[in-house]
Amino acid sequence: MSTAKITGIAALDGGQRLAVKYFAVAIVLFGAQILFGLLAGFQYLSPDFLYGVVDFSVNRMVHINAMIVWMLFGFIGSIYWLIEDESGTEVVGLWLGNLAFWLFTIAVVIVVVVYLVIQTGPGQIESIWFINEGREYIEAPRWADVGIVVCLLIFFYNVAATFMKGRWSGIAGVLVLDLVAVAGMYLTGMFYSPNLSMDQFWWWWVIHLWVEATWEVLVGCIMAWGLIKTLGARRQIVTTWLYIEVALMLGSGILGLGHHYFWIGTPEYWLTVGGFFSALEPVPLVAMVVHAVYDSGVHRFKSPNHPALAWLIAHAFGNFFGAGVWGFMHTLPQVNIYTHGTQWSASHGHFAFFGAYATMNIAVFYIAAQRWRGNVNFGGGLVDNGWKWKWALGLLNGGVVGMTMALLVSGYDQVFIERALEGATWSGFFKAQQNVWYLQGMWWRQIFGYMTLAGFFLLVWDLMTIGVRETRPAVFPTEVAEHAA
């Protein structure tokens, strides 16, 4: 670290230059997600608000589609970020990667504009192709699906070919196999059937098998690399942990899919299959605790990038509580029969997606920001004492946990009134939503939503400014270990 500090694009390798483009779009879409979430949330409180201009259905759709896409952009960026380092060679088809980036981004913009311009109309085969495919989270029309698959294939080619040209590692192997599964699952979301049970059956393959199987493996790979690079964890340990983790995760997560097949018209055996396997899904999350303890004990975490480390810790907790605790709470069919499709599900959905995946992406943004600023110290004693990242961390996590709790209150009210007292009748559905507890939950969700928004603004501001005036170089544990040896 004797050379002068190199910053910006010049400090990055080829893959990383592409990665920052993905990160930039991811952050913009994260902002869009929050904005449309707030609009949808406000419509719960004031149903006439923007009615006929941007309907609730559209706000909700943009809210959750933006989420899926920003997280995918973040993941793709993260892999491009680490690949040259991990493989020891340059990305094979960088220009292709750039092309895919622009195609994907332009497609996203067109899809959203069409959502906003054509909000209602008959559902026909043409509307499936050009306007809206009608499947929650992945509503993008088919033409865009095809484009997304092409972009994912290019991405996959780049990853596989780059590792093939450079060196393979355990992490690389898991990653490449996982990407095949991520892309494969997406294809099942394009299946169309007028039979609603069949349609939902395949749709869940994308959503569940993404977030509870393939995405978990993907963040496992990123985490493994992050632990080695930023905390100096031993590759051998981390890789072994990754294999076990993946085995446990897939062992319970794949058939855990059955927890979405309780009430959609699928055969009754899914009650048992779904209940059994999904009840075991938190076990790998719990087992992860042991590995974290071991690593912290052996390596005495000393990181020159405190915000990244803090977000990695937020990821560990968020994944554990949002997916593990909140997931298990409603996964047995005996419980789910009451909670299914209430705000209880939304409580879990917010906590799990944010806790497991938003956090991990933000951690990588900070890893990237550090290199962009010339590998300066992001550890203790930042110029402004790091107040921005600390407050962003607090507001974002506090906001989402607050929304989670508010939604739980509303959800419990629905269980109580709609399901328990009224026996799941049509009138019970409305009675629950007019109850004062339900409405208060909705108000608090909105208030915590504004808190989340404030955290988002701070986060963006911090990413743009952190370390700009810092001059001390970062000292990474891996370097310390190498020098000591």
Binding site: I244, G275, V286, H291, M329, A420, G423
Partner: protein, 110 residues
């Protein structure tokens, strides 16, 4: 409602106040199962790391609480037959998984 056991929790008719109490107990117990599972795992790992007998005892204490919460969960939901097998499976998995991971991480460290 064959597959779900007794008629105690039955969505077809309203469930009444006792049913609601049972439901609330069940979801709280459910959340605590996972939490105690993690605290057991953490105390176990720290106990091994520092060779601390006290921490190991705390770990087993937590596992005891885990067993209690699983019992509360099973009885509140009036689980029967095969669902009780699941409860036993969960107990085994929560007990064994942290030990397995510990052995593997320790073994690969050399």
């Amino acid at each position: 409602m064959g597959a779900l056991g007794h008629e105690g929790l039955n969505i077809v008719g309203p469930m009444g106040p006792e049913g609601l109490d049972a439901f609330l107990r069940a979801v709280i117990a459910g959340a605590l199962v996972v939490v105690f599972g993690a605290v057991y795992a953490a105390c176990f790992a720290f106990g091994r790391l520092f060779s601390s007998l006290i921490l190991m005892r705390v770990a087993y204490g937590c596992f005891g609480l885990l067993m209690v919460t699983v019992y509360v969960l099973a009885t509140s939901l009036q689980l029967g037959g095969v669902w009780n097998v699941l409860m036993v499976l969960m107990l085994v998995a929560y007990f064994v998984a942290p030990r397995m991971i510990w052995r593997l991480t320790a073994a690969t460290h050399e």
